[in-house]
């Protein structure tokens, strides 16, 4: 009994694992599913048990972030087996958008710069994937995604160099010009980009054979495809978030925040301001390009007019609503974006608004604008900031 009390964490974890195995054997229809479900539950339990070890996050920060990423991926991937096609599609779109938001959140929150051109950076990644796939269809998907990221980073570098001399509204103006010019640039190279019509991927992203045998996923081809797309997007998002969490906490991340808060102090400790700004721009645009590339894979096509100035403003609004400079804020923004379409269609159905009418087409803008105003009024640090504040108050109250 003494041992059980002393080793509370281990005994609780062991008990949970036993319960999980019992549930698995009852839920899963065949041995293969039982193993998959069992492994997923054990990973989640061990991960959570590790993360809750006192002082673990302080002493092993990178390992703690890796564990958190694995647990989150484990749960999210597993959930996709049970979600409907529409939910999985929305999940994939939300995950792709959260990568874009994370990049902008880093640029704005960590380095103090602003960009109104993130939709165009997304477009760069989206087009890069489509163009490359149309010319080199056999290239593995990971390589194609990396090419899109490299293209985004390169365009970010080109814009970041003059941006080192610009501040506030002037910088916003320059990135705004890029967002406005993007469609015109794309239309100038129609033989490559397809102009306004865009490009179709030569082959759809198809899941591997083994996937369809899990959890009766084979019930519908659409379901398997959307589940696979959601899985790919979730894994890429997990890796992107893990990398960014480490970047935020790294020497480079701290240097960026120092540049944001006190340029003089940054220079005096040996930080090169132009280099820090250009790196921030490149990281942000690479993330936007990655989000855009995933967007193309999810939709199986790219339509350049999608990456309009309106999308840039939506992206900026979502970063503010979620919480600037926070990892969780980007996730919150992604979820809001993914499910906003469902909420709007529910609203139009229940209010009798003509879904093809002018008002319905303006509803997304009204919703995001309204949410932005409410956030500014009641949670200036975004939803993530508000949650953190409530949590901090609760902890203070609970402290004897």
């Amino acid at each position: 009994m003494k041992w059980l009390v002393a080793e509370r964490r281990r005994s609780l974890s062991a008990a949970l694992i036993v319960v999980a195995v019992v549930i698995t054997s009852l839920l899963a229809p065949n041995p293969r599913d039982r193993v998959a479900l069992g492994v997923a539950i054990v990973v989640a339990i061990v991960g959570v048990a590790t993360l809750t070890i006192r002082g673990f996050r302080e002493t092993h920060p990178v390992f703690a972030r890796a564990t958190l990423t694995v647990v989150a991926l484990d749960v999210a991937l597993f959930a996709t087996y049970f979600f409907s096609s529409i939910t999985n599609f929305n999940l994939a779109i939300g995950a792709a958008m959260s990568i874009v938001l994370l990049g902008l959140s880093f640029l704005t929150g960590a380095s103090g710069q602003i960009s109104l051109g993130n939709s165009a950076f997304m477009g760069v990644g989206a087009l890069a994937v489509a163009i490359w796939a149309n010319h080199h269809a056999s290239t593995p998907m990971v390589v194609t995604l990396l090419i899109a990221v490299a293209c985004g980073a390169f365009v970010g570098l080109l814009l970041g160099l003059p941006a080192t001399r610009l501040r506030g509204p002037y910088l916003a103006g320059m990135t705004l010009a890029f967002a406005v010019a993007f469609t015109a640039i794309v239309n100038s190279f129609t033989s490559w980009t397809g102009g306004d019509a865009g490009l179709q991927l030569p082959t759809a992203v198809t899941p591997p054979q083994w996937l369809s045998s899990f959890f009766n996923a084979q019930t519908s081809l659409l379901r398997v495809n959307t589940m696979w797309l959601a899985d790919i997007t979730i894994v890429v998002t997990g890796v992107a978030f893990f990398f960014m969490a480490n970047l935020f906490a790294s020497r480079t991340g701290r240097a960026m925040r120092l540049v944001r808060d006190n340029e003089v102090a940054a220079e005096l400790v040996g930080v090169s301001l132009p280099r820090a700004r250009v790196i921030a721009f490149m990281v942000s645009s690479a993330y936007a390009a990655l989000g855009g590339a995933l967007w193309t894979l999810i939709n199986n096509s790219v339509s350049p007019p999608t990456f309009s100035l309106a999308l840039s403003i939506t992206i900026l609004s979502l970063v503010v609503i979620g919480g600037i400079g926070t990892i969780s804020g980007a996730l919150i923004g992604g979820v809001i974006y993914a499910y906003s379409t469902n909420v709007i269609s529910w609203f139009t159905q229940h209010t009798g608004i003509n879904s093809q009418g002018n008002l319905a087409s303006q509803l997304p803008g009204i919703v995001f604008g309204g949410l932005l105003i409410l956030t500014m009024l009641f949670a200036p640090m975004g939803i993530a900031g508000a949650v953190r504040r409530v949590w901090a108050r609760r902890r203070v109250r609970m402290t004897p």
């Binding site: 925040r257 808060d261 003089v264 102090a265 005096l268 400790v269 040996g270």
Partner: protein, 235 residues
């Protein structure tokens, strides 16, 4: 040793420094004194590369500092604690100190331990956000952040600004100790002449961007005319 020769600096049409020359010897505290607008802060900013000189030279041992980038000057061993301190409120004490060691090739854990020994209050508050520190503690943090990079020259801009007399005295004592124990070259800019002259070995008085006195601190303290004209009342 830092040697400043014929240094002139302008802000547009306004000339902030006019052919300023002086030497700051190794292991010596050189106080730079003067009224508001005399060019004291501009002098420090020019030495650390934040402001480009119109003409003149600045030499640290055999390295020329004039027209170098601030990050390169910092890497050459010049630590600058600016006016207003420049600590990041949202970072903890330890994170602020890590920033100081960021670009320097020093052992971080040894450096942190050394600073916590020198400023025990920072050690006690290492996990606290800088926003929660008092003015004196913030000044200590700013100094510790500069010192963690193991500089050979320390530029201090108005370290006593806004501090209680007792805290100022403690801080000045620490600066004196630092200079003696580590052989640092210290250039101390102060409006409070009494405080600075109490610990300085050498003093330079600036008036409207020109050097009007450049001598041992004891001689400047003894010169009543100089004190009355340029420093006001010195206790």
């Amino acid at each position: 040793m830092i040697v400043v020769e014929e240094l002139s600096v302008s802000y547009g049409a306004v000339q902030a420094l006019r052919e300023v020359s002086f030497r700051a010897e190794t292991g010596v505290i050189t106080a730079v004194l003067g009224a508001n607008g005399a060019g004291k802060t501009t002098l420090l900013r020019t030495i650390s590369g934040l402001k480009e000189p119109a003409k003149g030279t600045i030499t640290l041992d055999e390295h020329s500092l004039a027209r170098q980038k601030p990050e390169n000057i910092a890497r050459l061993g010049v630590g600058h604690v600016p006016e207003g301190r420049g600590v990041i409120s949202e970072f903890t004490v330890e994170e602020n100190l890590r920033l100081g060691a960021m670009m320097a090739k020093v052992n971080l854990s040894d450096g942190l331990e050394e600073q916590y020994q020198r400023f025990p209050v920072l050690g006690e508050r290492r996990k606290q956000h800088a926003a929660k520190l008092s003015g004196g503690e913030r000044q200590m943090l700013a100094m510790a952040r500069a010192l963690i990079a193991q500089p050979s020259v320390l530029l201090l801009d108005e370290p006593s600004l806004g501090l209680a007399p007792q805290v100022t005295a403690q801080l000045m004592h620490t600066i004196r100790d630092l200079c003696a124990s580590k052989g640092l070259t210290v250039i101390l800019v102060e409006q409070n002449a009494s405080t600075a002259l109490r610990i300085a070995d050498h003093a330079v008085i600036l008036y409207l961007g020109r050097v009007v006195a450049n001598d041992a601190a004891s001689i400047i303290v003894a010169d009543e005319d100089l004190r009355q004209h340029y420093l006001g009342k010195v206790e």
